[in-house]
């Protein structure tokens, strides 16, 4: 049965973010402070390094390590948010042997819950939540419908993309972009954009 490799996921996410760091930073320059690309590049690089140095076999524990690393290395808003997300994801799958469809759905739901608990953002606030929420829902629906994991991940990725696009016309209510008031309208939220990359990276981390 196919599953997601945590190492491969984090490596693919790290590579995608590094490749797109410039664009993320551009988005953050328009409505934030222009550091989102460097923040996440630094963070995911550290995650890949930490995972490479760990012997831990359980995917849940690997996710917790990834989350702790993000908290320790990123700072800003996205560090604790994605850190909390991965820690909660890891705890949700506990000692499960593999991140198969149902486990991944549990993990993403827990991640989303963690982000909302820490950041109190609701859908429509123009944050990463606007991409992570539909992605999580799409993945759960596909898994529940018995679709292959690759298809479920593809559905989640499309949903994340659409969610990120949907942030463009919104006025931000959370994070730095909210300081801009109406001037935040018309720009894609950088955190939503990076969420797309992280979800899409799941597709490059499928095993078997």
């Amino acid at each position: 049965m196919s599953a997601v490799s945590v190492n491969a996921w984090m490596e693919a996410a790290s590579a995608a973010i590094a490749a797109d760091a410039e664009r993320l930073t551009q988005l953050d320059s328009a409505i934030g402070d222009g550091d989102h690309g460097t923040n996440l590049t630094r963070g995911f690089r550290a995650v890949v390094e930490a995972l490479a140095g760990s012997e831990e076999p359980a995917p849940g524990r690997r996710l917790i390590l990834a989350g702790k690393t993000l908290v320790s290395k990123v700072g800003g808003a996205s560090g604790p948010l994605w850190g909390m997300a991965l820690r909660r994801a890891g705890r949700a799958v506990a000692d499960a042997e593999s991140l198969d469809g149902p486990a991944l759905a549990d993990a993403l739901e827990a991640a989303l819950a963690g982000v909302v608990e820490l950041g109190s953002a609701e859908p429509g606030d123009k944050t990463m939540v606007d991409a992570l929420t539909p992605a999580t829902q799409a993945l759960r629906a596909a898994v529940d419908a018995g679709q292959p994991l690759a298809d479920a991940v593809a559905a989640a990725t499309s949903a994340a993309e659409e969610g990120a696009r949907s942030t463009v016309p919104l006025q931000a209510r959370k994070g730095r972009a909210s300081y801009l008031g109406e001037r935040s309208i018309g720009h894609e939220d950088p955190g939503a954009a990076s969420t797309v990359l992280i979800i899409a990276a799941l597709g490059r981390a499928l095993e078997e």
Partner: protein
């Protein structure tokens, strides 16, 4: 590399290498742990004294490292440029300065700072250190509503760190020290404008372009654009706008004594800043307020951004006395 208009080596090392320079320049006042990326008072921990810790993204110098020393902060933890530090740093700073009387965290209200300091405070509690967190949110440019992340912490941070630092120095307990910082936050308001963007080292270019003859109004301290753009006014008009924004929100008592803090954003010549300060005092006086203490200079900056912000603090006798108390840091020094 180094092709942008910056004095640095590798942009990734800018904060750490700057701290190294701060350490050799002010070895009598502070020490720097380059591993943890924290700045600590040279004589820390001071047994029995409440310790003050602050932090935030780098790029606002002299804040916070320049405020570490007698009568002000016990430690500062700078993050990457314009990026909140991580909980590990905050925890390291907190444990390094705890003298058994508890630690006050001065936290500027930004999503990142708030979340990271929250995690650090939880970690500190786990280690048995009593932490009081004080949130600074004095920027009237942002409406404090459900529809924003709340007001940003700006100029009042400097004043809270000075006054709470003096309270800690005179022996106040952790609740009282935090209380002073909160009183400063309640009685102070700020508003700022920018005449240019700044150049974050990682980006290597300005965050925004401002056409000649325009200014950004209602800016924060992270080089981000402000609430709106307006035609650039004269210093007199800008002073009137700053004073109106701050005073209408602060609503001080008639004839109140105030501390006037005219802050440069980093790239505004002192020549202009003093000119603006003169206009600001005139405006305040015309409104019947009585400037009784002043601070003029670049103390909470956005790298080389041109612009200025005004912070007005309504004084009482205790706050005035705490302001006058000795301070010995890299950026503020008197009475010693």
């Amino acid at each position: 590399m180094a092709s942008m208009r910056k004095l640095l080596n590798d942009p990734e090392d800018v904060v750490r290498e700057s701290l190294a320079g701060l350490a050799v320049a002010h070895g009598d006042i502070l020490k720097v742990d380059l591993e943890q990326q924290i700045v600590v008072r040279a004589d820390a921990p001071r047994q029995g004294k409440v310790a003050l810790v602050s932090g935030g993204g780098a790029g606002h110098e002299p804040m916070h490292g320049g405020f570490v020393g007698l009568g002000m902060l016990d430690a500062a933890c700078p993050g990457a440029v314009f990026t909140s530090p991580v909980p590990d740093q905050m925890l390291a700073a907190t444990t390094a300065v705890d003298g058994g009387a508890g630690v006050v965290h001065i936290v500027k209200n930004y999503t990142g700072d708030v979340m990271n300091f929250k995690l650090a405070a939880e970690d500190a509690a786990d280690e048995g250190i009593e932490v009081e967190s004080v949130l600074i949110d004095d920027d009237v440019a942002v409406q404090d509503s459900l529809y924003t992340a709340g007001r940003r912490g700006v100029g009042a941070t400097v004043l809270a760190e000075k006054l709470a630092g003096a309270a800690a120095e005179r022996g106040d307990d952790v609740v009282a020290v935090a209380g002073i910082a909160r009183r400063v936050n309640e009685r102070a308001r700020s508003f700022g404008i920018a005449l240019s963007s700044c150049i974050p080292p990682a980006a290597g270019k300005p965050i925004f372009d401002l056409p000649e003859g325009e200014m950004e109004v209602g800016i924060g301290i992270h080089g981000e654009p402000g609430r709106r753009r307006e035609p650039l006014g004269t210093a007199r008009e800008i002073a009137a706008e700053l004073v109106e924004a701050v005073i209408s929100d602060l609503a001080p008592a008639d004839g109140a004594e105030v501390l006037v803090f005219t802050n440069g954003m980093g790239g505004t010549p002192l020549l202009e800043l003093y000119l603006l300060h003169g206009e600001i005092e005139r405006e305040l006086t015309e409104r019947g307020l009585r400037p009784a203490r002043r601070l003029v200079g670049p103390f909470i900056t956005s790298l080389e951004m041109a612009g200025a912000s005004l912070t007005v603090l309504e004084l009482d006798d205790e706050l005035a006395a705490l302001w006058d108390a000795p301070v010995h840091t890299a950026a503020l020094r008197w009475g010693t």
